[in-house]
């Protein structure tokens, strides 16, 4: 690009330099000549251009802003560069986070009541990693601390905002679930060792084809 950089070029530069996801308002403020709609349209254009050119980067909308991220297809190579695998959260941490995310603000003892176990250790880890934050104190005896999720939480799970949280399956769905799961556990198609732990609500019951054994059941590959 010689001469004046176009708006897409400027946006790309801003996203490259920023360490945090940049909110739309901030981008617009810097661009000066564009309103929010135009800025957003330019971001989409930039995203399309990067994609069209087969670049290793993409525009990701996350945690209330935009940033440049590497494309998932390049993951294996980036991993080689970094050598260290990113830490995955433990099940205890995920369960605790789920409860906090959906029920925030929430006190520690309320979390413990749901999980049925003490959560001191997990909470400390989550606070250390800044996935949760303190949101003040509850107006009740003892004034216990209230917790909620942080921006870091959104980033960690690649969410734009809390509206991206998957909908909780409601109680009556759950009541039907045990039978489905039990049926799945004894079903004939259980030879593969996929993540059978994760019950998929959308899985069609009774679709047991015996004709094509070489077609594995479509499941999300990790």
């Amino acid at each position: 690009m010689d001469g004046e950089p176009d708006r897409l070029g400027i946006l790309e530069a801003l996203l490259f330099v920023a360490e945090e996801p940049l909110p739309l308002g901030k981008l617009q403020e810097i661009l000066e000549d564009a309103d929010a709609l135009q800025t957003e349209a330019s971001l989409r254009d930039l995203a399309l251009r990067l994609e069209g050119e087969g670049r290793g980067l993409m525009v990701q909308e996350v945690a209330g802003g935009f940033r440049l991220a590497t494309r998932p297809e390049t993951h294996a190579f980036v991993q080689k560069l970094q050598q260290v695998k990113p830490a995955r959260l433990s099940r205890a941490a995920l369960e605790t986070l789920a409860i906090i995310a959906y029920r925030q603000p929430i006190t520690r003892s309320e979390i413990e009541a749901i999980r049925g176990v003490a959560v001191d250790g997990v909470m400390r880890t989550l606070l250390e990693r800044e996935l949760i934050r303190m949101m003040g104190r509850k107006a009740e005896a003892g004034r216990p601390m209230l917790y909620g999720t942080s921006t870091q939480f959104l980033e960690h799970f690649g969410m734009k905002d809390l509206g991206d949280l998957p909908t909780l399956r409601e109680i009556n769905e759950l009541i039907r679930a045990p039978e489905e799961e039990a049926a799945g556990a004894v079903g004939p198609e259980q030879s593969d060792e996929g993540p059978a732990d994760a019950p998929e609500p959308a899985r069609e019951a009774g679709r047991t084809t015996e004709a094509e054994p070489d077609e594995p059941p479509a499941s999300s590959h990790n």
Binding site: P72, A87, R91, A98, M123, I171, L174
Partner: protein, 265 residues
């Protein structure tokens, strides 16, 4: 059919119960309390052998189950203490707790999927790396127990013969462990037991380790779930991370420690 219990798989009594309900293919709304209680107690037997703190919440649930079971045996009139009206199913509260927990357990699985998807994207200057080396995850008791059970199982097959034990005590073992950690600080969990093939010795070593962890003299960390558990001498760890809150005072709330009355930023 052999009934294999893996307590280490469970995130607490509710999780274990859900597993049993699923395994026995019974209706969560109509739990056959007698047989589930029996299965539950059988699962606990494994854990009780160790007489660990972690069993506390499991034991509480056992008591709850037995209580419900006894209530269901009573004729309805006597169970109500003067309160007339329709009888509530003694299982009702437990069922609603189970359903509530199940809801979040599933949400947690979805979060796990989102996490692995998100981790395919990298960004500049991702800060996580220095944490990784230390092993950012505090190992939970359950994970520690899992590792311990693995080692016990291996020991049983390797050394079926028990020779008369000399005097072994946890106190001495603690001292030995401290010395060993002083020489070699991140020490892989399994190597703690490398020179003690006998079951008794392994148990004593493990108890010593638990005591060290409880007193905050060592910490157990791992990079991710299922990664090798590393035992750190705590002093060293605190120097490198500068976190003063690492030795947990029992029962002290995290919130109370750092910010008294602080309003959130």
């Amino acid at each position: 059919m052999s009934f294999q219990i893996k307590l280490d798989m469970f995130e607490g009594p509710l999780d274990l119960l859900l597993h049993l309900i699923r395994e026995h293919q019974v209706d969560i709304l109509d739990i056959p309390i007698a047989s589930i209680t029996e299965a539950y107690l059988r699962s606990l037997a494994v854990m009780q052998e160790l007489d660990l703190d972690v069993a506390g919440e499991y034991l509480l649930m056992a008591a709850t189950l037995i209580h419900i079971k006894s209530k269901m045996l009573l004729p309805p009139e006597e169970s109500a203490e003067g309160e007339a009206g329709e009888e509530e199913d003694p299982r009702a509260e437990l069922v609603s707790r189970l359903l509530e927990y199940k809801k979040f357990k599933e949400a947690a699985q979805t979060l796990g999927l989102l996490e692995s998807e998100a981790q395919l994207l990298h960004r500049r200057g991702a800060p996580a790396i220095d944490l990784e080396v230390e092993g950012p995850l505090q190992v939970t008791m359950v994970e520690l127990l899992r590792a311990f059970r693995d080692i016990l199982t291996r020991a049983e097959t390797a050394a079926p013969l028990e020779i008369t034990p000399e005097e072994l005590n946890v106190g001495q073992r603690i001292v030995m462990l401290v010395d060993r950690l002083a020489l070699e600080s991140p020490l892989e969990f399994g190597r703690l037991f490398s020179d003690s093939p006998r079951r008794v010795e392994i148990i004593v070593t493990f108890l010593a380790l638990l005591e060290l962890l409880r007193r905050g003299l060592a910490s157990a960390r791992q990079v991710e779930a299922l990664a090798p558990i590393m035992i750190y001498r705590t002093l060293e760890h605190e120097e490198s991370t500068g976190s003063p809150e690492d030795s947990p005072a029992r029962g002290e709330s995290v919130g109370a420690a750092g910010m008294p009355e602080a309003s959130p930023a």
